[in-house]
């Protein structure tokens, strides 16, 4: 600290209220919460034939109540800095007081919803080491000038001199690609196939002049058309969902923590201390891997329960650029790893990847054909798919350990690579069945602090033993 005589009271900021926009936000909350009762009342009112009167009464009384309570709650909410802590008081009937010592505050993050943007105010999240997307204290409407004063009083550096900080920002084209290549689309593929089959049948069977309605004589066809509609709707929803989740996505590295901003209507800001990032997982989904694209998720202690979008580090990245981006944003996980360096399962492990799944599917398909003879094409098709799945898993599997990081890779349709700090593993395991023991093969798995477990199966037993021992505490 400086040589200046210390102020006895430390930094202080007299109690103050939120920007009046806070009262509006509070009133809108009431309206939203009351919507259900309003609907019930409207239904009751329409049955008694006085709908008009009821609606007018509701509108007037409801608005009055919302404005009044919004105002009262706004009056009751204050924040201040005293005794080296931020105090937040709110609540009318049962006032709550939250105290966060300044020493525990590692950032004050800014988010903006549509209402905040309308009034030109910020929603402040006071973040502590405990982490999470939602701050320990949330101040829903604070003017930018007040934000600066609060930051200064809290002894935090000026908000966003972000120009000089390293930043990764999603491009409009990238955003569209995220939506188009979303991994959940992979699950829809079988449905799309079924829909195509029906489509072919519909067009093939009858003359083109028949109307669609004429071509729906059987229930099966109707059901499959519904499936096609559902597929289209799901795809559209998933596309829009990705747009909303990742619009305006940006990552900034500010010294020892990452700031992640995202969201379209509701701007969200997350602050993640870098020392808690023990690993990242890289997913190459079925529509991304052919184009050399991947997505990267943070594996962070204490953030395991956050929604997946909140744990995203890069929604879409060329895999060739991954090491460079990690060097900039998560230096502890930086390194270069050519695929050739991976320790891979030996050739004699291939059948162990392929046979168990393929045989299971084969037996199930045969059983299904006994019950429902029409299902016979499933036997060759599903069995072949299961075999391809096993082969893909064999080709994905591998591990690599160097001085700074451990990489474990597995998966079939989506290939996943966990990149972890070897000195921060929560546990690691070596597993063998009796058969694997005889074949001198073994599985290796690790767990990181987010609770994510990653496993590579059927490695050469000597390779697995070496890795197992190198991961032990020094």
């Amino acid at each position: 600290m400086s040589e200046e005589p210390e102020q006895p009271a430390g930094p202080t900021l007299a109690p103050r209220r939120l920007h009046p926009a806070g009262a509006v936000l509070s009133a809108l909350d009431d309206v939203r919460n009351a919507l259900f009762s309003v609907v019930v009342l409207i239904v009751l009112g329409s049955q008694s034939g006085n709908l008009g009167t009821v609606l007018v009464l509701l509108g007037v009384v409801g608005a009055a109540v919302a404005v009044a309570t919004g105002y009262v709650r706004w009056r009751a909410e204050t924040y201040e800095i005293a005794d080296a802590a931020i105090l937040h008081r709110h609540g009318v009937i049962s006032p709550d007081e939250t105290v966060v010592p300044l020493a525990r505050v590692h950032s004050i993050d800014v988010a903006q919803g549509p209402i905040q943007r309308l009034f030109g105010v910020d929603e402040l999240h006071v973040q502590t080491a405990g982490g999470g997307e939602k701050g320990e204290i949330v101040l829903r409407a604070v003017s930018p000038a007040e934000t600066a004063r609060l930051r200064a009083a809290a002894g935090l550096p000026e908000a966003t001199a972000t120009d000089e900080l390293p930043e990764w920002r999603i491009s409009p084209r990238g955003l569209i690609l995220v939506g188009l290549t979303a991994p959940q689309l992979g699950m829809l593929l079988p449905l799309v196939g079924a829909a195509f089959a029906v489509g072919n049948e519909l067009i093939g069977q009858q003359g083109a002049r028949d109307t669609l309605a004429d071509r729906l004589p059987t229930e099966t066809d109707a059901i499959l058309l519904l499936i096609a509609a559902a597929v289209l709707a799901t795809w559209l929803l998933s596309f829009l969902g990705s747009l909303v989740a990742f619009a305006g996505f940006s990552v900034t590295r500010d010294g020892d923590h990452l700031r992640i901003h995202r969201g379209f209507l509701q701007r969200r800001a997350t602050s993640v201390p870098l020392r808690r990032v023990h690993a990242v997982s890289v997913a190459e989904g079925p529509f991304r891997r052919p184009f050399g694209l991947c997505s990267v998720r943070l594996e962070t202690a204490g953030y395991g329960s956050e929604p997946s979008a909140a744990r995203t580090l890069f929604p879409l990245l060329p895999i060739t650029g991954l090491d460079a981006q990690l060097a900039t944003f998560v230096p502890a996980l930086a390194g270069t790893s050519a695929p050739a360096e991976f320790t891979r399962p030996p050739h004699r492990a291939i059948r162990r990847y392929i046979l168990p799944g393929t045989l299971t599917v084969l037996l199930l398909a045969i059983a299904a054909t006994f019950a429902w003879p029409v299902a016979w094409p499933g036997i060759p098709v599903l069995t072949a798919l299961a075999a391809l799945d096993g082969l893909a898993r064999y080709r994905s599997a591998g591990s690599h350990l160097d001085s700074s990081r451990l990489l474990l890779r597995h998966g079939s349709i989506t290939r996943r690579t966990l990149i972890a700090r070897p000195t921060r593993l929560q546990d690691h395991s070596f597993a063998q069945t009796t058969l694997q023991h005889q074949a001198q093969l073994a599985d290796i798995s690790i767990t990181v602090a987010s609770g994510t477990t990653s496993k590579v199966a059927h490695l050469e037993a000597t390779d697995a033993t070496t890795l197992f021992n190198r991961l032990r505490p020094a």
Binding site: R276, R424, Q426, D427, S429, F430, A431, T434, S450, P473
Partner: protein, 160 residues
Amino acid sequence: MTHDSEPTGRLPSQARLLFAGRSLGWAVPLVLVAFTGAGALEQTDAPGWVPTAIRVAVALAVLAGLVVEPQRRWRNWRYELRDDEIDLRRGVLVITRTLIPTIRVQHVDTQRTWLSDQLGLRSVVIHTAGGSHRIPALRPDEATRIRDRIAQLAQRPDDV
């Protein structure tokens, strides 16, 4: 330092009864349903060997669950505490050896159930940020010793 040896601590022999007791949870309903069903099948015109096959299969499954599985699980279980790591080795069909750095341990519990009380056993649960690990059956004094030892070792600061 290197630890080339596998862990050495073994569970007390009553652990077999505890494992068998847990298997009762599925074995009893299975026997009731299967034998009732087999009895009902005898009244129908199903082939005579079907009820017998069901009874034999269920008897074998129960034998495996009550005798073979507990015996193997007990025989394979090993644990060992070292200054810097906890070493667990267990499994019935898949033998898994897991190492937990003591510095990663968040907290340790001892747990008891009605059944474990009858057998004079406790389990020790080791919690890390990534999940939990259980040593399922220990004598109470050994469970307390292990819990306190791990808690003591885990006090060294970690930066999680």
